[in-house]
Amino acid sequence: MKIRFTLNGRNTSVSTAPDRRVLDLLREEFKLTGTKEGCGSGECGVCTILVDGENRLSCLMLAGQLAGKTITTIEGLADGETLHPLQEAFVGCGAVQCGFCTPGMILAASALLQGKPDPTREEIREGLSGNLCRCTGYQKIVDAVESAAKAMNHPDHSPEVAAIRHKGHLR
């Protein structure tokens, strides 16, 4: 079956079984392996993708459901070589340890900031509550989202991002 949808900004058409999990389609067909499989049952959030801007779980979606939708994976968040402010902030704040949860965390955070550009720490925790991290203790992830929100609202005033820019880690 031919399925047409928009993937990371590009019109895409793929022939696949309609009951294939979106997670498998993205990883195997499109080689977009930033989307991970964790629990496979909707409890961990590592397979998070954005569907028409909302964070959803690609392990609980079938390929047929993609038809006509706009999909963003972690690979589609950066603008070429320029990282998204959330990605910069995760690097700058040390919000990444093993990194397995990071793509899902960042996509969930981006959906959160879309609706709430200036969230409180409690709202950030709530917004990321569908994404599990077994390394960081979440503190630095919340720091990173807070810092990214500041950077996105006031592009010149994010100390963490300014610091890594200064070190030359980012272009």
Partner: protein, 306 residues
């Protein structure tokens, strides 16, 4: 390979069901797709309701709110009519799953899955919700209480789907309350939950009360004896202790990996004890120390249109 049919209207849905009468129907897929992974039975097709236009809205019909079955939990949470008129439902939706689960899962799915722990079921029960069932040929309406008959069992017949849930605007109640005990704050299956609607007189006498517990029986548990005990009285620790004893007799919990039956029975009563403290501080509008948490748990409905 299974076909995945995504009809865009009820008319299209009926022809899909005619073409594939054995196909399971799903909305968000957050329960069915997990189940199918572990299920060896072969189904020829799946029918998704996510694009059926008629099932995706909330509208006011006289003194009722009509909620389309395929409306996602997130859309309900963002609908000011739900927060304004049905805070007991809103509070339950806030505790349901996680943000991505709420972006996918639907109220109709939560009802048809008929889990003893379904978070929307206790609030919809105290609200006397009715379910609207339709098939290609007919339609019928029945109370949610009679629709769910056991864990995972409903009175839905072959070829029939749940199209909507209808809830009367609960004008007759001043206070709405929902609390869920889970092992975590998010992504937690309820160990026990309590939904309550309460009306008190200006003097503080309980005039009417509706109570429903989740996760402590095969379906939602109601306890007319507890309600009868409370009516005509004023909230006091002694009254609620008595009510808690009756509540523990009314529930029939089981042991599972999340909690023991004993603990579920115990907290079924203790949830009632908390009702009094929430109610009294909300009634006083108190801002005294440490009571902020009480006030956010108990909601006075606002903007009730006639």
């Amino acid at each position: 390979m299974k076909k995945v049919l995504l009809p865009r209207s009820l008319i299209e849905l009926w022809s899909c069901l005619e073409e594939e009468p054995e196909a399971p129907v799903f909305a968000g897929g957050t329960d069915l797709l997990v189940r199918l992974r572990h299920d060896q039975s072969v189904v020829p097709a799946l029918i998704g309701l996510e694009r059926v236009a008629e099932l995706q809205e909330v509208r006011e019909e006289g003194d009722c709110l009509w909620i389309g079955a395929a409306t996602t939990h997130s859309r309900l949470l963002n609908d000011p009519r739900i927060g304004g008129m049905l805070p007991v439902l809103k509070k339950a939706l806030e505790t349901l799953g996680s943000p991505p689960i709420r972006n996918m899962g639907t109220v109709g799915g939560n009802i048809c899955t008929a889990s003893p722990a379904g978070d929307t079921l206790p609030p919809l029960t105290v609200l006397d919700a009715e379910v609207e069932l339709s098939s290609a040929k007919t339609g019928r309406v029945m109370p949610l209480r009679t629709f769910i008959v056991g864990p995972g069992k409903t009175r839905l017949e072959k070829g029939e789907i749940l199209t909507a849930v209808r809830v009367k605007k609960p004008i007759a109640y001043d206070f709405q309350y929902f609390e869920k005990i889970g092992q975590r704050k998010a992504l937690a299956c309820a160990v026990a939950s309590l939904a309550a609607l309460i009306r008190t007189s200006p003097a503080g006498v309980i005039e009417a009360v509706r109570l429903a517990w989740g996760s402590v029986g095969p379906t939602v548990v109601t306890a007319p004896k507890v309600e009868a005990l409370l009516v005509g009285e004023r909230f006091s620790p002694a009254l609620l202790e008595k009510a808690a004893v009756l509540a523990r007799q009314a529930v029939s919990p089981i042991d599972d990996l999340r909690a023991t039956a004993d603990y579920r029975r115990e907290v079924s009563g203790r949830l009632l004890l908390r009702l009094g403290s929430y109610h009294s501080c909300e009634a006083r509008g108190s801002k005294q120390g440490g009571q902020g948490i009480f006030r956010c748990l108990l909601h006075r409905p606002v903007s009730q249109s006639p």
